[in-house]
Symmetry: C2
Subunit: 342 residues, 2 copies
Amino acid sequence: MDYKSSGVDIDAGHEVVRRIKRLARSTFTPGVLSDIGSFGGLFRLEPGRFADPVMVASADGVGTKLEVAFMANRHDTVGEDLVNHCVNDILVQGARPLFFLDYLATGRLAPDVAEQIVAGIARGCRANGCALLGGETAEMPGFYAAGEYDLAGFIVGAVDRERIINGSTLEPGDILIGVPSTGLHTNGYSLARRIVFNELGLRVDSMVPELGTTVGEALLAVHRSYLPVVEPLLNEPGLVRGLAHITGGGITDNLPRIFPAGVGARIDRRAWDVPALFQFLWKAGDVPIDDMYRSFNMGIGLIVACRPADADRVVMMLKHQGESPRIIGELIPGDRTVSYLG
Amino acid sequence: MDYKSSGVDIDAGHEVVRRIKRLARSTFTPGVLSDIGSFGGLFRLEPGRFADPVMVASADGVGTKLEVAFMANRHDTVGEDLVNHCVNDILVQGARPLFFLDYLATGRLAPDVAEQIVAGIARGCRANGCALLGGETAEMPGFYAAGEYDLAGFIVGAVDRERIINGSTLEPGDILIGVPSTGLHTNGYSLARRIVFNELGLRVDSMVPELGTTVGEALLAVHRSYLPVVEPLLNEPGLVRGLAHITGGGITDNLPRIFPAGVGARIDRRAWDVPALFQFLWKAGDVPIDDMYRSFNMGIGLIVACRPADADRVVMMLKHQGESPRIIGELIPGDRTVSYLG
């Protein structure tokens, strides 16, 4: 018995590594000191870029959005979802991305599929100025169903110590500004899939008139990166007092993560138009409204908190970036919870 | 329809996070500036610890060793496997670990199992002076079988730029010193499981007289960290010219990863005693010898390369740490391949 007959093809693995190397090199920034294939990836922060650099790191997965990618046999977008999710998670602490590593686990490695996945990761990395420094591609026979895989990502960025954003200065009266999402991003897919595929019996290629597109297109819309629109705000120290990335748990669970003790939020749900996709899921699934706001981003992917006197300026700066920001609420005395109007 | 009925239990997730927080805090080093639960984990390298720090990062999984953990219903060792694997992967470039993040994906979150897994990660982190800075715990209903999970890890360490070990100075004549492994570590499990469970029909609790223990105990032996025994060597600049971590692909594929062009290796297989577990698998599986050395570490988990004049000193220093190092071969002119004697 040899290794290949046990279900692991080391040569196919080498072929995947060769293709990944080419894609990864396309993302390299001046800080990268190693090539892909080393035991570890080497990255050197340019001296002088940060006065007192603090590293900010985060790990994420794509969740069951992957199931939609499997159904649609489309594998070039989930990597971008993953990178952007990670970029946003460190951006909300004020950090700029430095490098990214991926973990791709499959039952049997299909080099073409692996290449599509990593091509999406590389595209996301390039768009965010983030180097794809390494990763692990694991072939685990019998662990994943044929054609299925799991995908996780790890990001490291940096922020100057005195520019860290952690919400610690937030206080009642501060204004909450919502920035639009581009769809479900990477959260709520277990509920959404159950409604769309199990309850409604739709397929990925079913047209949904209310959405003006297919189920697959709507559900695979790429999780956007907020780096380009937030960067100008971060360049004005003190302007942004808090940033929340609205991921699993929705506004209800994510916004309070940045609150100091004694602070809560009141959100006016009438302040923005909930996009058609969320309204469709809400109606079709007969989901209680509180569950909607705890499962989905409901059209708001990022919340910026600032002083009342700065709100107009933040809104203007975001509009200048082509955004449609909305003032969606304010901070109130509270116990780190969100209450809703409307 | 609500979120819980779709298979995701946000409250169970919060309970897991609460337990994980306590475990993670037990690993915190002075560099950690954030608590678990922030969008990103914050880490500050103490100023002055490195003159010109280079970050070294690596991502890894546990592979199908997880299947053995499932069969044995033992979940507190795989986390330590993962941390040590990652620590070794950056150690071979000369780096000391700074922080670690994990990705744990399950079908349905069992808080007790998640806690066992993270307890193993935390134990591994503490032993290596590495902070568990964050992670992602993903509940993906229908994606993983009941009681199964996947686990990946991501590590960042640092090395002074002029102390980076990358094998670039290796040349023919350099001596290769092998340091013992503690079992299969985390590689070769697809082949090993097929031999042990499919061909031989053994169970995890079957006693194997040749091994003096059960199948489960033998296969779950923890992947060791080489940090404590290698650190004294690294403190003498120039002593170590190259380090290879023997993981998937065995000595055959891993040792050449550090070779410059024009260099190969000759390994004398008679130089060390292959541990009983590998001999058992070899015989029982009727595996070609070349596949054995390309699938398993065969008892050598780390290879240290040094100048001939330094070999005795390196061996002595390793023995002083309680190791049983063996001179297993030397570098020769070649094309980045390994040839075997014996």
